[in-house]
Each structure stands twice: as C-alpha cells, then as structure tokens.
Subunit: 340 residues, 2 copies
C-alpha cells in the first residue's frame, strides 16, 4: 500500500480526471455539486493533503508552461495593451520553439492564482506577466516559492524581491533617451506618464530621465511630469493638460509609445508640428512606432529576446538548473520625431 | 471490475499522470524511455484502446479551451501576423470572460494535432485558427468530427466543409470596398494579394472586387492582380512590381492592411502621393491602420466579435447545444487614403 494518497488515487476512486479532483478540492463552480462532494469525501477518507513540497505530479512533464497575465489597469475590457500583446505572441512562439504548449490564463492580482497551479498537473512552471502594485503580489510570490513552484516573472525589478525576475532596464532606458534628446540640443523637457511606486516601470524611466537632465545642469520642472497610463486616450489628455498649463518645452519624453501616439494626435489637432516645434519620444517600440508620421523615436524593448529568456530560464528552472534575475537593456531607435 | 481500461487505469498502475500516459502512447520525447516502455506495456496488458467515440474523460470539465494556431506562411520565425495576434489576444480575453483558461499551441498542418487532444484531459474543446491550404486539413477535420471532439474553426468557409466554421464575409468585404472606390470616382484598379485557392480568403476578396467592377461595366485588368502575402515587405515589392509594369491605376485595393502599409512606403519612396495620385485601400483594420499617414481606409474585421462568437459557440458545443457555421460581416472604415 502506498504511504500517502495522491490526487491520482482520488481521481481513480472517484472515476474522474485529476484536473476535476483539483478543481473539486478548490470548490470550482465548473465541477457539479455531486462530484465535488464525492471528491471531497474521498479526500477526507484517504487523508489526502496537498503536498506543497514535493508533489509527485510536479515532477511529471505536462509539456505545458502556464502564462499568467495580470489584469492591466491600462487596458479596457476588449483590448490588450500592444506591448503585452506582443509579449503574448512572442512567449507563445518561444514556448512552441522549445516544444511546450502554453496555457494562458488571465488573473486578477487579488485571486488565488498562487494556489491554483501548485498541485495540478496543468503546467510544469509559470510565467507571470503584468503591471501593477506588488504589495499583495509579493506575499503570493513568497508562497509560490515556498511550495517550490517553478516560476519566472517579467516586470519591474526591485531589491529583495522573491523569485527570479526579468525586466527592462528602465532607468538606463530613460537615461539614454534623455541623453539623446540633450544631444539634439533640447534644453527643456516634459515627461508624460505616471511616476510613482504604483507604476514602477514608468517611475524608473522618469528617474533615469531626471538623472540625465541634472547631470548636464539643466532643470527638471516637476510640474512638467504629467500622469498618464499607457493608452492613446490618456496620452492625448496628458498632452492637452501640458499645453494648458505651461509653455511648450523643447522635448517631451513619453513613458510609452501609446502615450506618445496619443500626444502626437493632440499636437496634430492643435497644428503643433513634431519635431519642428516640439520633439516627441516614446518607449517600447510597439509595431505602430515606425508607421506614425513623423516616425517615432523610441527605446526598443526586445519582446522576442525577453520571451526567449523567460521561456528558456523557466525550462532551466524546471530541470533544477540555477538561474539568475536579470535586466534586459532597451535600445535607442532614432527615427524622425526628435530631430531639431 | 471495469469493462474497459482507461488512461486513468494506466496512469494509476504506472504511477504517472494521465498526461504522461497520453504522451507516452504517442511516443513523445518529453517522456523518458523507461516510463514510455512501462506505459506502453501496461496499455498492451490492459488491452487499452483510445476510445474515440465517448471517452469518459472528454465529458469532464478541464475548464480549458485549446487554441491551435497553424503556422502561417506569411509570418517569419519571430513574428505573428498582426491580425492573428489580435485574434489571439481577443480569444484569450473571451475565454477568460467565460471562465476558461486557454491552452495555446502552435501546430504544423502536417502534424498529428487531430489525434493529440482526443483522449487527453487537456481541454474541453478546440479552436482552430490559421490560414493555408485545406487539403490535408479537411481529412483531419473529418477525423476530429468522427471522434466527436468539440471544435470550431476560423477561416475561409467553403461548401461541404466538415464541422463548424466562422469567418469573415470576404466576398462581400471585397465587393463593398470596391463599390466605395467606384463611388469616389475611381475607374481603374489594381489588386495586391494572392488570388487563388492557396489563399482562399484573399481570393474571395478578389472575387468580390471583380464582381463590383464588372457590375458598373468597368474593366478588370488581370495583369493588375499582383501576388503578395500579408507582410509589409511583400506589399512593398508588389507595389514596385505594379509601378514597373503598368501605368498607375486610380485605386489600389490591397488584400490586407500589412500589404497596404508596405505599398504606402513604396509610394512614399517614389514620391507618389496617396490619395492625390493613387487611392490605397486595405483590409482587416489592424491597429496601425488609423496611424499611417494618410490614415488607411479599410474593411474592418471585428476580432473581438469573432473571438466572442468562437468561444461562445465552442462552449455551446461542449454543452451539446446546436450551433451553426456563419459569416461575420466586415465593416467599411473610411479614413483618408481613398478620397479623390
């Protein structure tokens, strides 16, 4: 006799699949009440406990990686932010290239996603992708780590963070773009994008921007930092707010290309010429950046590289190889929107 | 004693998960040789046969839908065609909205994907998405249908096709766009895009175009149909081929926005003004279409609606409700690139 009951024992005795057992034990509404009660009764009878440390299932190969997308406050109900969408496409590709299927699941930061995959034979490991506050998040990362779930994360990287994270070198990106603007002869600046701990990636870009401005003894005007989330509409509104409150600066650095695209439309509506009257820079190099008129100068996040790194690192982790967190450099792409 | 062995019996006796059994029986390289041999021996011993008609597993809820993306000849190794990417994003959203995870898997048309999901408790149903020739494909759809796998398909719709398909009303889309061009006063035309059975969706758009041209007693010049696949590079090349071989027509109808974007760049390089010297129309309304200069007039495929229909129809099918194939109308979006 086995020393310890597994979800497979319950599945076998209940005559249902392992994933049904997993769902039934989590009171999932997808399992009907009768089955749920049967499974739960069997679990009790067999003294079944989810083994968080060394599930025999977790060591199996499902051939599947799970991508957990966290609800992005910047996207509406029907849209995925273009940067995320590009990451989704590249991660799908990278998983396929490495022989894995990809299970994509939308999550709310508040949900119990950290418990959801622990015992299930759903996936060999998790990729976490999403913006947002990491207050709740951090506790869940700790739990994932304690239960020895294999996971990697893409986003902002902060000291003391749990687990392995990859992310863009946002500080350096903001710094490099601002140096480029300064070299073009621009002396006064605005920054469109949220710049506090609630949007840590934009905040890092802003810090890099400020550093570069201060290094050449120019002035950062805090009134010229205007909050915006990564949508065209928000960029449009932020540009108009800037126009209403102050003189046009030489150059505007937008925390994302979507913000820049919205700002560009605002300037076109007001017959303000880019780059003749104001330089406009973005961040991300989403697919539209080379198609706007003027073509957008931006910092490129290499989503294909990031996806390859995430997938290959996770696979190493699954095979118990050591991996380290790391920053991925952004690359200055000079087009037309910032020249004097 | 049970009358018939299931994959659960094998999993239980071999001490592995069901998905490992499924993979082992398919000789997947993800299962080590020892396990594979053990599973295969047990399957033989238990006289296990994949039950294609009424797998007890298929009636279980995995809470997962599988999206099979077929390799698109128009995309390179690193990119997903923007229309597909938008569908991927919208299907992910639609699945989440309906309480399902989405398993995304890239497939080659030649692979045994039709057998891959039949016995596995991987997903409750399949969404098939992809361009291409349907010669091989059709036989596999038949097999899916015979084994009672729940599936829906997005793509071209042809008479006698197996299973439930949804797709854009490409003929009507091509017809409507051409009527618009005619109303703008244009009298001579070119069509950039493949127009034969190897690209059935473009072909339907071309047929609709020809119908509209003929109805008003204008001439279709077959030399002005130039093959292109849905990439900027191919559109650029096709536009240059057109310029090299004949006089500029009044209007160019591109089979996709990507082709139109490439053609636009070709005209900009040659200092040919759109729409003053030539009108340019696209198809799809991908996210860049409203950002080009001039903004692109196009036929919009509503990817959000298509994704909702695919996901909701598949869920109905899973619950044994009747569903029918259907065409989704494309919508004319008039912007700047076709006015006289």
């Amino acid at each position: 006799m086995k020393t310890k009951a597994t979800s497979l024992d319950i599945a076998y005795q209940a005559g249902v699949s392992q994933s049904t057992v997993s769902r039934a034990l989590r009171n999932s509404p997808l399992v009907n009440e009768e089955t749920r009660k049967k499974v739960q009764a069997l679990a009790k009878e067999l003294n079944y406990k989810v083994d968080k440390n060394a599930s025999n299932l977790r060591s199996q190969h499902t051939g599947t990686l799970a991508l957990l997308l966290f609800e992005d406050p910047t996207s509406d109900d029907s849209m995925i932010n273009p940067f995320f969408l590009s990451m989704l496409g590249c991660i799908t590709r990278a998983a396929a290239k490495n022989g894995y299927d990809l299970l994509v699941s939308f999550q709310q930061l508040s949900e119990d996603w950290h418990a959801d995959y622990e015992d299930a034979s759903k996936a060999d490991g998790l990729i976490l992708l999403g913006y947002g506050d990491y207050v709740d998040y951090e506790a869940k990362l700790k739990q994932l780590s304690e239960q020895e779930t294999h996971f990697v994360r893409y986003g902002s990287i902060e000291k003391g963070q749990t687990g392995i994270s990859f992310g863009c070198d946002n500080f350096k990106g903001g710094y490099d773009m601002t140096q480029h603007l300064i070299k073009q002869g621009h002396k006064s600046f605005a920054f469109l994008g949220g710049a506090d701990e609630h949007c840590p990636e934009f905040f890092e870009r802003y810090k890099g921007h400020c550093q570069a401005v201060k290094e050449v003894n120019l002035t950062v005007n805090p009134n010229n930092q205007i909050d915006a989330i990564s949508t065209e509409g928000s960029g449009y509104a932020a540009a108009n707010q800037l126009l209403a409150q102050s003189e046009l600066p030489d150059a505007i650095f937008c925390a994302s290309d979507m913000i820049a695209v919205g700002a560009l439309t605002a300037f076109q509506d007001k017959k303000i010429k880019v780059p003749e009257q104001v330089a406009l820079a973005g961040f991300d190099d989403i697919s539209v950046a080379h198609l706007t008129s003027p073509k957008l100068t931006t910092m490129q996040q290499n989503t294909k590289l990031a996806a390859d790194i995430l997938v290959e690192s996770l696979i190493k982790k699954i095979h118990n190889q050591e991996i380290d967190s790391g920053l991925i450099p952004a690359k200055l792409i000079v087009r037309e929107s910032c020249s004097r």
